[in-house]
Amino acid sequence: MGYQLSKTKADGIFHQWAKKYDIFAPMLMEGEGCFSDTDIVRYGKVEKLDDIEWNKKSDYSFKEVLLAINETLFYFTEDQTTVPKGPEKDILIFLRSCDLHAVKRLDEIYLKNGFEDFYYARVRERAKFILMGCENTCQSGFCVSMGTNKSDNYDAYIKVTEDAVYMDVKCSELNEGVCAEAMTTEEIKVADVAPDYVTENIEKVTLPKNLSNASFTKEIWQEYGARCIKCGRCNFVCPTCTCFTMQDIFYKDNEKVGERRRVWASCQIDGYTEMAGGHGFRKSQGDRMRFKVMHKIYDYEKRFGYPMCVGCGRCDDVCPEYISYSNCVNRLAKEESES
């Protein structure tokens, strides 16, 4: 159902939802940027509509809500394991179209690809998604090129303007919240609401069509590799990167007790392929760059039938060495068309 309502009313609905859901949305974290007196936008638990950063694309994606950066898999004593409790409440996640498309990619890896992941699944099945529209394109995104600019599989859509809030609520559970609020206050106007989405980006990306193992020897990888400082930021901001590493830790005050965790990992950082005994693969940064790019636009598609990259552009925004993944992809496509 589409609605037009006042900000106050919308906050009332938000309040209704908050009873049942923990609500996560992009928030402006003041002073938490990389450099002094800079801010970042990342996901946090919000209490009201005003807590949400509506204008700026989040620097870090929603994925940390579904896939914690550090997740305790279980606690152990000498011969017993205990799994920590899952989320106490259902979860609402505010996100943009590119990110909603990324959810499908996370699902592909964590719910399918071999085994279903217990920890992801128990959060995922309690999550609903509220689409934030994009009236204008962001600087670095290329969602139109990736076909991720538009989404209709949202549970609700919310748009906030100066004097009104517009909602399209598809999920009946969320609609209950709207109704609960409508009963206690004045009418909420029924309206036709369709999500804003961009039809053209500044960045346009063409995917190369004929990648193969032969692409491994391209000079472009070594060129970018020579510039890369293997910090892994591109992976950590990416809404579709899913890798993790296991960690076993013991508590200082009782070394017989501890926990096993999984923690986000980056294919760009040393140690990613290193096995016990020290043997590792992809030692050169160029090979790692190639591995990442090929995964996003070729390997994943070969396995699952559609490209992994959703074109959010965060990796380009965050790279301290100004390595542009989107330009790299375009260069690959150009090389292909010229040969």
Partner: protein
């Protein structure tokens, strides 16, 4: 919903010491497992390590572990009368049927012999099921030889070339890399051969080169790839090569597919 990350306690039934660095742990396990598959073996607070199945018995599974890292060090230090956590088996393992009726050659380097030991042992006990079975097993030195008891039996029923990279003076057995023995292999029908090649990545590379020189079709070669595997469940990403997850699609690959796996 099954939580695949939760390991089960497994009791050590027996420890077979091959060398100072390599022991086989016979662990309790109820379930199916194939040679070439692997388990995540762990001691809490030291972490998990992917260890391949080196033998399957009644209610037991064998892990031949080389002491190379934090987890395996701890396993060696603390195993006495104790238990480990295990979860698995993972991966595809070797299909015995692929090698039946073939002139089978197994080339293994060091602990690379463990995942394929079950295959060799099968044909050593069922000699009629393969046209012939040959094992070329390479170790660093005479003191690094694994599965000595197995070799005694294998020597009776199948062709065994057990070689060492180097040996002290006076050593009478074969010396040299496994690749040295491949050109001399003789076959009734090269098209009906089957090769299995397991060991460190460099060893696999050069061994396969030698095998191909014999005129063996690529489809007759199988390799087992070792990679970092944190989860064994197709999630953690560390073992991915191209579009392949070694933990799900491997670790055993027919060379036709295996040759496409470039890290």
């Amino acid at each position: 919903m099954t939580n695949h990350y939760i390991p089960q306690l497994s009791t050590i039934k027996e420890v077979i010491k091959h060398t100072d660095l390599e022991y086989t742990f016979r662990m309790t396990f109820d379930g199916e497992a194939k040679p070439g598959q692997f388990f995540e073996v762990s001691i809490p607070k030291y972490g998990e390590a992917p260890i391949s199945v080196s033998g399957i018995g009644e209610g037991t599974v064998d892990f031949t572990i080389r002491r190379v890292g934090k987890v395996t060090n701890e396993i060696f230090e603390n195993y006495v009368g104790d238990k480990f956590f295990i979860r698995g088996p993972y991966g595809n393992g070797f299909e015995i049927d692929n090698y039946k009726g073939k002139e089978l050659v197994v080339v293994a380097g060091g602990t690379g012999l463990s995942p394929v030991r079950g295959v060799v042992d099968y044909f050593a006990h069922h000699t009629g099921e393969a046209v012939s079975t040959t094992v070329i097993a390479g170790f660093k030195s005479p003191k690094d030889v694994l599965f000595k008891d197995d070799f005694k039996f294998w020597n009776e029923t199948i062709n065994v070339i057990q070689t060492v990279d180097s040996a002290p003076e006076g050593y009478e057995g074969p010396v040299g890399m496994v690749t040295k023995y491949i050109p001399d292999l003789k076959f009734e029908n090269i098209e009906n051969t089957a090769f299995i090649c397991v060991g460190p990545p460099v060893m696999i590379k050069f061994t396969v080169m030698e095998i191909l020189k014999l005129g063996v079709p690529e489809k007759n070669i199988w390799v087992s790839n070792e990679r970092k595997m944190c989860c064994g469940l197709g999630k953690c990403g560390h073992c991915k090569i191209g579009s392949t997850y070694i933990c799900l699609d491997g670790p055993v690959f027919n060379y036709v597919d295996g040759k496409e796996l470039i890290d």
